[in-house]
Symmetry: C2
Subunit: 196 residues, 2 copies
DNA sequence: GTCTATACCGCGATAGAC
DNA sequence: GTCTATCGCGGTATAGAC
């Protein structure tokens, strides 16, 4: 008969992360106290410090995990023939992936200014990596003449802003299914860059 | 010989508003203290309460003033013949107006969740009014067949997200002049809605 | 691993002198 | 109109019992 671990032992860490993410998304990092997070999890405030050295690191870990998951999921997409097909794949992936992670997306965008400089730089680099993958598609399209893009950098930022904007209004069970939304946005994206 | 007013008297109010706007934009409403605002203005914390009943009202007043200025400036645009011309006018106006007020735009978007319910509703209504003016253009274009828009509501939100996104990267004196940026975005907008 | 208790600080807001 | 001083609260983080 070995030791019996407290059943909540290794579920506490993810529960802290989930509670923190939800509360940060809802009220903002600065407005949420460690006491609130602890209460949501059902532990005392001091217990949180067994799982994170401080509040700032908790925020950073959440944002970093989100960005890494985004990069990994995008990298795992099946290869795609042709620039226009790759652009459609990116468009649909971006909408689908972000819609399924509304809290993480919101926090990772809104709380950038609350990151300490070194942490900010790390997250920014990951975001930039993701943007570069879209810009690479647009540049290929420009080179081979299958897209009309006046400025690939601006087009990249414009498209990502447009696509991420879906998160400000999309709710599951609303007027339109996610597949329909993807289709409508793909139509606008395709036209915006003069594809087809 | 009348009373001599303290020279700083009626400049204190705008200076408080400017300091608060700048600090809220940089660090977030919840992260900024009344003491910080006071320090920036060069008065004691208690003095702020001569000009605002509380911190929440200060935030709300800043956001409301920004939204009202936006609606007024848009309403003052010269009348425009034709749907496509109106859309171009809106596009250029939106970019120009928002680029010149980066702090107010940022605060008005990021701090919505820190508004008390009644204040939130008031700001949301103004934002909705502005969106409706763009949607009206798109609907007119759809009716007369000069635009191709699969869903006017989604297209409205997509275009506004795209245009407001300029504020995340545009800085005066950068690679591109604002007029050039306007032109590039108008090109993308025009194509996205199938105009011309 | 979680608890209670607490150190230490800074917050929003107010009172009353000048 | 601005100041100093302060109230009462809640913040992050830590110490030490169990």
């Amino acid at each position: 008969m070995g030791r019996t671990k407290n059943s909540s032992a290794e579920t506490t860490r993810p529960r802290i992360r989930e509670a923190a993410l939800r509360l940060f998304a809802r009220h903002g990092y600065a407005a949420v106290s460690m006491r609130q997070i602890a209460k949501e999890v059902g532990v005392q405030a001091g217990t949180l410090y067994l799982y994170t050295p401080d509040k700032q690191t908790l925020l950073f870990d959440l944002m970093q995990a989100h960005m890494q998951e985004l990069l990994d999921a995008h990298a795992a997409l099946p290869p795609c023939p042709g620039v226009v097909a790759r652009l459609e794949q990116f468009t649909r992936f971006h909408i689908r992936h972000h819609a399924a992670r509304a809290d993480a997306v919101f926090v990772s965008y809104m709380e950038l200014r609350n990151l300490e400089p070194a942490n900010f730089a790390a997250i920014e680099a990951m975001r930039r990596t993701y943007e570069d993958r879209l810009e690479a598609i647009l540049r290929d399209g420009l080179t081979q003449g299958s897209l009309h893009v006046p400025d690939t950098k601006l087009a990249t930022l414009a498209l990502i802003a447009m696509l991420t904007g879906v998160n400000t209004w999309y709710r599951e069970g609303g007027r339109l299914s996610l597949a329909t939304v993807e289709g409508i946005y793909w139509d606008m994206v395709r036209r915006a860059v003069g594809a087809g």
